[in-house]
């Protein structure tokens, strides 16, 4: 009977039943003579499996109790929150934001490793000219790598670090809607699994952008990706609502908007972008799915549809999505800098304003991904100008980091090293972006490795460097133990050198016209590609150091004090790891988050009193 209690076992059972009912009923209808396509069977099977999974997990039980007008069982609600020290809460529908944060973070790193393995396979294929794994396999590996890494960049910082830290940083006991928060997380395992196993369904080779007509014709693996993407989108929208309500309604007394840590500000803008943009791409992907499954013709040029329309709708989300990935990283970087420079954050109000400006401008630049698509000519110049304009607020965020470092009392601990790595990588990403914003150079460089190098310098440089900085910085808070500093520094140097050795040559390869998303290339480029592949394997090895450090330190690391970095933000004023209710008593905030430079040692007198 134990299997029938809400939990992972019952969830798997529910998913199996859902899939069985969905596939079975349509298969039966098919034998009865109805015309049923494979795509429809997959669609219904997946939908019911997802619902069955969540039911089995117990995700809906509280809402169902409410809907039926029955008494809500308070003991059961507390049980869903979990008790500290019980590891099983990490594999349950637990409503504690700290548990959900760890769930997101661990899942994101597992996905990061999986997607990284796919990248290694790509570099195996590309190490030498000619074909090794084959074109089909390469396209599928490339698409899966992209789709997974995009998910990592979207969820790791805001879902992982954000969930864990935002309520504590603003002095709240939890997120505004803890059950919705848990639902956001548990919506993810099934679609991610679906993307991981899509080779069994024939794989997909359209890349994460899924442009029609290819994506309309390709096999079931393609459809699996589209459905997974929409599901992740729904999860994003739910968590965006949750973050915004939490930040705007649940701040502790005295925590005015301009006293919020910059990380919280970055996530607030991120959540706004997620809320407004995600449903557009969900709509576009739904139309594409309808084209495949229900016989509509939105993007079928042969029947009056418009393929470029898809690209517009896709990038209307996916360019803001670049900032959904990037802003949390920038926020984490700016959060780390003042602590290790022992100085107030330089130009805090301007940095906040820049985040907001980036958010607004990010909706006006999407078509710079489409200069070679054949879209309306008159659109080129305005989009080029807005794209170049967005480098102004981004530059100000940069200046906030540099101005804080300037004349600071620097401590070169691992998190701070990642800040310097970020400054270098993101600078290169930003400067090379100018060539892709300018129409003439972009037309020449489109679809070459120059683009690949550019977006890896921005997304890895912005998001992943920010993620590593934040993970090392908050590791003692999250786990209650210290990571190993030497291994951390080894990871940083190895990763950063290997990263630059991998992607700097790609700019040159792009200018030499090596095409992206193609398994083969001119033989003359073989030497550089071999070098790039060896460097890429080094990235993977350096991440192994990180994984070892995290796992080992979590189990065996020395116990961490409440505030090992002598930081001033609220999360460091509670124990490590934070108690289950976060605060014994809700604090009253009386000063800003970065008032360093007072008496040496403890936080300034009279500020956050937990």
């Amino acid at each position: 009977m134990k299997a029938l209690k809400p939990g992972l076992t019952r969830a798997v059972l529910g998913a199996a039943i859902g899939a069985g009912v969905g596939v079975g009923s349509l298969a039966l209808a098919s034998t009865a003579g109805l015309l049923i396509e494979d795509g429809q069977i997959l669609g219904l099977g997946y939908l019911l499996a997802l619902i069955g999974f969540l039911f089995g997990l117990g995700a809906f039980r509280f809402w169902l109790t409410w809907a039926a007008g029955r008494e809500i069982n308070v003991a059961e609600e507390h049980a869903a929150h979990g008790t500290s020290g019980d590891w099983r809460r990490y594999i349950r529908f637990t409503t504690d934001h700290k548990v959900i944060g760890v769930q997101y973070l661990v899942s994101a790193f597992l996905l990061f490793l999986t997607a990284g393995t796919f990248a290694m396979l790509m570099r195996v294929e590309l190490a030498q000219p000619g074909l090794l794994l084959g074109k089909e396999a390469y396209n599928q590996i490339m698409s899966t790598h992209g789709a997974m890494m995009i998910t990592v960049a979207l969820i790791s910082i805001i879902g992982g670090l954000g969930n864990f830290l935002v309520p504590i940083m603003i002095g709240a006991r939890d997120m505004a809607f803890p059950k919705t928060n848990a639902l956001s997380y548990w919506l993810l395992p099934l679609p991610i699994l679906l993307v991981a196993v899509n080779p069994l369904l024939g794989g997909f080779d359209s890349g994460w952008t899924a442009y029609p007509p290819l994506s309309q014709q390709a096999n079931l693996g393609q459809q699996a990706y589209l459905m997974a993407f929409v599901t992740v989108g729904i999860s994003s929208i739910l968590s965006a609502i949750n973050f915004l309500v939490t930040v705007f309604r649940m701040r502790a007394p005295g925590m005015s908007l301009m006293r919020m840590p910059i990380f919280v500000w970055a996530l607030t803008v991120t959540a706004t972008l997620m809320l407004v943009a995600t449903s557009v791409v969900a709509g576009a992907f739904t139309m594409l799915l309808f084209d495949r499954v229900l016989g509509t013709s939105f993007f079928r040029a042969s029947r009056g549809g418009d393929v470029i329309l898809f690209q517009h709708l896709f990038w209307f989300y996916s360019h803001p999505a670049v900032y959904i990935m990037g802003l949390p990283g920038l926020g984490a970087i700016l959060e780390v800098v003042p602590v290790f420079a022992r100085k107030p954050l330089f130009a805090y109000p301007l940095a906040v304003l820049s985040f907001i400006t980036i958010g607004v401008l990010s909706f006006m630049v999407w078509a710079h991904h489409m200069f070679v698509s054949g879209m309306a000519e008159f659109f080129h110049i305005p989009i080029m100008l807005t794209t170049e304009l967005i480098s102004v607020p981004t530059g100000i965020v940069f200046l906030a980091a540099l101005g804080t470092i300037w004349m600071g009392k620097l401590h070169f601990k691992t998190p701070m090293l990642w800040v310097f790595g970020f400054i270098w990588a993101f600078l290169i990403g930003g400067i090379t972006g100018v060539y892709l914003a300018d129409v003439p150079t972009d037309i020449a460089l489109s679809d070459t490795y120059f683009v690949v190098a550019h977006f890896h310098y921005t997304i890895v440089g912005g998001t992943i460097f920010g993620l590593f900085a934040g993970t090392y910085y908050w590791f003692p808070k999250i786990t209650g133990r210290m990571y190993n500093e030497r291994l951390g520094q080894l990871h940083f140097w190895w990763f950063t050198l290997a990263f630059n050795a991998t992607f700097l040559p790609m700019f040159w390869l792009g200018i030499e016209d090596m095409r992206r998303r193609v398994a083969d290339y001119p033989a003359a480029l073989g030497g550089v590609n071999l070098f790039v592949s060896i460097a890429a394997f080094n990235i993977f090895l350096s991440v192994a150091v990180f994984v070892f450090n995290m796992v080992w330190s979590w189990r065996r690391g020395p116990k961490a004090a409440a505030n090992p970095w002598r930081a001033h933000t609220l999360e460091w004023q509670v124990a490590s790891p934070p108690p289950i209710q976060n605060f014994d008593e809700i604090p009253t905030v009386s000063a800003g988050p970065y008032e360093y430079g007072g008496p040496v040692g403890a936080p300034a007198e009279g500020r956050a009193t937990p």
Partner: protein
């Protein structure tokens, strides 16, 4: 100063309730803000669908495309009136519960449910008798996807209202505790507004 004290009070109250629970006032304003934000994201969803519709329509060189006829206006016109009046009855329900008149609220809610259900039935009849399907080129695609998405939202709204009605019957809704009624009304007015745009673009203009 008083505002500050008020806020602190609320938090103290929260402390007594322990974790995982919220002060009712706070829960209420959180919920209503959450619903508003959710509606904003829905607006963008319909925005994407409408954008697709207008782009495809502007490229088709004549709308409806050759060989297609728009549905008759009479039935959907009456249906529009039904849905518009259901917004009025929904607002009656909100005002009634604000004054604490539970019975009047339940009556207004039942009328709203009835109007909304008739709307859906009529639309289903229209779909069945239109003479063209989802696969009828871009015209059928846009027509059924837009009205279908809207119809799904009407159904969700009706489901939500049915839940609110059940809770009201069990005496769980009062002048002090009626967040769900207000949340349902926000959502219902939104669904209504979308229909007005849909009706004027898909059927009339």
């Amino acid at each position: 100063m008083t505002a500050h004290a008020g806020r602190a009070d609320r938090h103290e109250h929260l402390d007594h309730m322990g974790f995982g629970e919220q002060d009712p006032h706070e829960a209420r304003s959180n919920m209503l803000l959450g619903v508003r934000l959710g509606i904003l994201s829905e607006v963008m969803l319909f925005g994407a669908l409408f954008a697709a519709y207008f782009v495809i329509r502007s490229e088709s060189g004549g709308w409806p495309p050759e060989g297609h006829e728009r549905p008759e206006l009479l039935l959907p016109g009456l249906n529009t009136l039904l849905l518009l009046s259901s917004s009025v009855t929904m607002q009656w329900a909100v005002r009634a519960i604000g004054r604490g008149e539970v019975a009047a609220m339940r009556r207004a809610l039942r009328v709203t449910l009835l109007l909304g259900s008739i709307f859906i039935v009529v639309q289903g009849y229209e779909f069945a008798t239109n003479g063209f399907g989802l696969d009828a080129g871009v015209f059928g695609s846009t027509f059924y996807t837009l009205t279908g998405f809207h119809g799904a939202h009407v159904l969700a709204g009706l489901g939500f209202m049915a839940i609110v009605a059940t809770r009201a019957r069990r005496g769980l809704i009062s002048a002090e505790h009626h967040t769900a009624v207000e949340a349902a009304s926000y959502y219902w007015h939104f669904v209504d507004a979308v229909w007005v745009v849909l009706f004027s673009t898909l059927y009339v203009l």
